[in-house]
Assembly symmetry: C2
Homo-oligomer: 342 residues x 2
């Protein structure tokens, strides 16, 4: 008899901590009868939030005390070295010991990556873990990595990102041979920086379903399942797209508030605008995977609300069920064997 998927939640992480994590945990348990969650953080605070929600700790909702909290602006190395009883660290330790199958944190990204890497270690054949998230596109969604864990990536790292992204898409979307694109500034071979030109050669020889270069707009518009890039570039692209969305909302609001007539128009268009908003709601995409580790770690946005954090828990469940790290490990071993044989 296998145990239910067990997920450790860093209940103190993010901008508001337990005020979001505890309600999100209760929602997730309502949605999944076969799920066990471990809330990690200051016991009294967690108990008071549970009491407020008329809930208590039980078989499928356990509490684990942790006395410290990693602040959103703590330096990653310092947090790792000095806060050994933080909710983030204890949650990751639970994955390491096998008590949990995955952990979810809305805490400081740098500290989460540094701690996860130190505690869980990378998979054999992975030099650097990467941050991967799915992004809405005309065709559904695109998995994009790296989003900021690595800067100054070498071609070999981009190849590793491609393997990880491809296995993730295969596992969670059920795509047999995910199409992998390399982010570049033009479709011609001559364009691109050194990193991208070298990575292109490695990807062509990788055995992945590599479709070549994708430009920035292709993330949203192309027939591609995985887009690979250096973390500096990926982070800029992700933040840029958030900026455009905010700018559009700002201008749209200005125009609808212009006068009585436009306010009436807003009223008429409200159901459509809401449906549109749901389609691109970032909360529905919340939850980035830290890939390449010997364990599953999901990063929620720091400002996630209940719905968004619950979505990050869903992603963790899916990755547990699909055994994503094991799949990446197997694929890397096969790639390594092929290269040896050549």
């Amino acid at each position: 008899m296998t145990r239910p998927p067990t997920i450790a939640l860093d209940a103190m992480g993010g901008d508001v901590g337990p005020d979001v994590v505890v309600p999100a945990a209760l929602s997730a348990l309502d949605a999944h009868s076969n799920l066990r969650l471990i809330l990690v953080g200051r016991r009294e605070e967690l108990e008071s939030r549970l009491a407020a929600a008329k809930a208590t700790a039980r078989e499928n909702l356990q509490l684990r005390h942790a006395s410290e909290v990693v602040a959103m602006d703590d330096a990653p190395a310092l947090a790792l070295r000095t806060k050994k009883d933080s909710s983030m660290r204890v949650a990751i330790d639970l994955v390491r010991s096998g008590e949990a199958d995955a952990c979810v944190s809305a805490g400081n990204t740098g500290a989460l990556m540094a701690t996860a890497r130190f505690v869980l270690k990378t998979l054999p054949g992975i030099d650097r873990p990467a941050i991967c998230t799915s992004i809405p596109s005309v065709h559904g969604h695109t998995h994009m990595l790296d989003l900021g864990a690595n800067v100054d990536s070498k071609a070999e790292h981009l190849l590793q990102f491609a393997v990880m992204g491809s296995e993730l898409a295969h596992a969670v979307d059920g795509i047999e041979r995910p199409r992998v694109g390399l982010l570049n500034i033009g479709a011609e071979d001559i364009k691109g920086n050194e990193q991208v030109k070298d990575a292109n050669g490695l990807l062509v020889a990788s055995g992945l379903n590599y479709i070549g270069f994708v430009e920035g707009d292709g993330i949203f518009l192309s027939d591609v399942d995985v887009v690979v890039c250096d973390g500096f570039v990926g982070n800029v692209a992700l933040k840029t797209s958030e900026g455009v969305a905010k700018l559009a909302r700002h201008f749209m609001t200005l125009e609808f508030k212009r006068n009585l007539l436009t306010r009436l128009a807003a009223l008429a268009a409200m159901p459509v605008l809401k449906a549109f908003g749901r389609r691109i709601d970032p909360r529905r995409y919340n939850g980035a995977s830290l890939l390449g580790l010997q364990g599953i770690v999901i990063k929620s946005h720091g400002s996630a609300d209940r719905l968004a954090f619950a979505n990050a828990i869903e992603i963790a469940i899916l990755e547990v069920e699909k055994a994503v790290p094991q799949r990446i490990h197997t694929r890397l071993a096969a790639l390594h064997a092929e290269r040896q044989a050549q």
Copy 2:
């Protein structure tokens, strides 16, 4: 008596060439009594377009024959070497000889940059010209560079981009000390790649009004006048923002076409949606400056229509009036002198 601003137009460049450039030229002349344009391209084609518009060549609208056309997919080096009588080349030659004060082309970006650099040369103190465009923001617009002329930029190049962008904003927007930001992936000093960390040091010491790091969303949301970045990163950010805008339009259209009720809502909201559309209309921002050259060259989008190409002509006029290359030259000489004195 000074002559009117004289601008050479590569009339064959872009996806449709003279079908856009000739009507755009006529619009620009209607708007500016003190302007002279030189249409460069195949004489018969230009004459037939003029005739169709019931116009003829005249004192302020001259024709210059050029027998060849640089194709949108021509390799830049090959175009430069083999098409010496292309409309693009002849238009740039007119700037070199002083017959024109600026040129505008919707042709192949790589060929335009290579040819402009070869014919006009860079300003003293500039290693690499950069592509700069203005982007709509909450506060008006932001000048961003480089957008793809340079990849693998060194810190020193980013400093040069900052000087060029700052002088451009000063000249065309009349801002006394434009705020310059460096595109990065986090506000903390510890983040960023090597290139950005080194450039940060140079910018702090530059005497520019340097405000530090700006993240991707800050291009649209921050109080900043100029955002500096490597061309690879800038091109990805620009194309990403185009992609998000197209995705949003796609989803919005889907939702408004869902049923009769939503179609009625679209009708009610149409004036507002149109006003919103005008605010972010990329045609109103069409026209990127190739900065750092001994001359003014404006790149129009290849798919520009009449309105968009006419906007690129407006930018050329403004840069001629404000003598942008001379200003950059003066600022660079001052910076160089300061550095020598230290």
